[in-house]
Amino acid sequence: MKYLYLVWSNLKRAKMRTSLTLLSIIVAFMLFGYLGAIKQAFNQGIDVAGLDRLIVRHKVSLIQLLPASYESQMEQIEGVDDAVHQTWFGGVYQKPSNFFAQLPVEPEEYLEMFPELLLTDEEKEAWFNTRTGAIAGRKTADRFGWKVGDRIPINATIWPRKGGERTWEFDLVGIYDGAEKGTDTTQFLFRFDYFDEARQNGQGLVGWYTVRIKDPERAAEVAAAIDSRFANSSSETKAEPEGAFLQGFANQVGDIGFIMMSIIAAVFFTILLVAGNTMAYAVRERTNELAVLKAIGFTDRGVMGLVLGESLVLAGLGGAVGLLLAWLLVSLGDPSNGSLPVFYIPARDFIIGTVLIAAVALVAGILPAMQAQRLRIADALRR
């Protein structure tokens, strides 16, 4: 710690240069954190996907519907514990930009399948007993200022009511929280029996199934058994683990992870050049001073440590401020005004960020530090 003053004083030597370098590092780490949150949003649910859950959809595509009767048939397949269905409602609340997922489901079975959705017993009871009842995730409820007891009108784009009426009205009976940070709390869930009876067409059809299996290690085997059960029927299925399904869903807009990594890699490569240049200049312009330090008794390694220390302070300060700013920005909300199901910087990215700080410090500082280490006192003092 006693050398910190010396390190800090040297960094203050060229304030403009240090500030600009610091700023570029801050921006890089802010970008890293923010893009990490966006990547997390696109991969929403993958990290918290149940290992014991499969998604079963129509073999052709997700928008092709499956018979509701498949549920009981699937539950008879060996290895299957339970199955629930969901259907994409695709309605609009007030205006199209107010996007959030709306799904008609069987309340009791659904809550049993997804224990990460937390409701009070009173709210559960109200949903089970209210035909037009619906529950909303905390994020969506907060976004629109909903509270229990509100009547929520949603305009159908896919599923009109009998008679052609497009407005569906639901009674909000509960607001659920997520058991984990990555739990999607943007969904709006309402009762399938009400939906199926009131919709104009498609009775008896559902979007896809979530199937809970008894042994996660037999996931591939059970998935194959399900697909085999419905092979050669008019609605063949494709079963896959929930995580793989969500990953595939995210990849429909491109390999988000790859895109993010490419951007971040380009940014950090530039930062390395900037920080490396700063450190090289910082050492070159005070060759004489480093020689004096050695002359008065600092060892070669000691001088090397001072230069690396400067690099570490620069990268550490820039990285920490950058990550902090990213966290603050992410805390303010997602850029799509709340339509991303989850939006936060995962703890893993903070750890990677810390490793990156050390890497930037080391890579940017190592060559100038070695140059300082190799400096011969007598030669340097003669310059």
């Binding site: 003053y5 010396l6 330090l293 008065i296 008794g297 600092f298 060892t299 006192i377």
Partner: protein
């Protein structure tokens, strides 16, 4: 540092050869020198005669190509780089022509620099630096940065930095070379006082006869050889 026979520095048959590409430049050849403990020695000679090289060898800033350099009973040419650095920190104070202060540090912090290598507490380092600055008459300028000090004042800070660890040996490379006559005289007064009152052994390289006159002995270096007389 132990002083056995009363001689602090014993240089025996020292050669120093620099290589510039394939060319070898013999700066010092077969040089012998003994400096008694407590002496104030002035080294004079034309540019390129090897004065600074000799000073560097005595201070362990460089190593001889051949021969031995013994200071305080220690063969410093045999020490590893790490031990030599530690030896310099303990036993040698260096004063440079152009002061070589850290521009980003105040006078006080510049003087404290060598003490960072010790196990002294922050308060003790501060106290010792204040005493050193007091000795050179600059305690009132301790919070000033070098750029706000005159040349003479900067050199005083340089001397304070050199003596703060209480070394036995002070090596001064043209300490008045960048100063006007009055400031130079003040620096020489200070060096003389350190030699007489605190018993510091001082080796001073200078071009200035007036400065050399302050020393207790003057040696002349020409073409790598020492003599007591100036050779034409």
């Amino acid at each position: 540092m132990t002083q056995g026979s009363g001689d602090l520095v014993q240089i025996k048959n020292v050669d120093k050869v620099f290589k510039r590409g394939s060319e070898e430049i013999h700066v010092l050849g077969g040089l012998d020198l003994t400096i008694p403990d407590g002496e104030f020695l002035a080294l004079m000679g034309p540019s390129g005669s090897g004065k600074s090289t000799l000073l560097n060898l005595i201070g362990g800033l460089d190593r001889p190509s051949q021969g031995s350099v013994e200071v305080g009973g220690e063969n410093i040419d045999q020490l590893s780089d790490r031990r030599l650095a530690a030896w310099r920190a303990r036993h040698v104070g260096l004063v440079f022509q152009f002061y070589n202060l850290m521009p980003v540090l105040t006078a006080q912090k510049n003087v404290e620099l060598p003490l960072l290598l010790t196990h002294l507490s922050r308060a003790e380092r501060k106290k010792r630096a204040a005493i050193a600055l007091d000795i050179v008459g600059l305690s009132h300028r301790n919070h000033h940065f070098p750029r706000t000090l005159s040349g003479g004042e900067q050199q005083r800070v340089g001397i304070a930095r050199a003596i703060v660890t209480d070394p036995t040996l002070l090596l001064c490379d043209e300490p008045t070379g960048d100063l006007d006559r009055k400031s130079g005289d003040e620096i020489l007064d200070l060096l003389q006082a350190l030699n007489r009152e605190q018993g510091k052994t001082i080796v001073m390289v200078t071009h200035d006869i007036h400065a050399a006159a302050r020393a207790s002995r003057t040696l002349y270096l020409n073409k790598g050889r020492l003599s007591t007389e100036l050779e034409e």
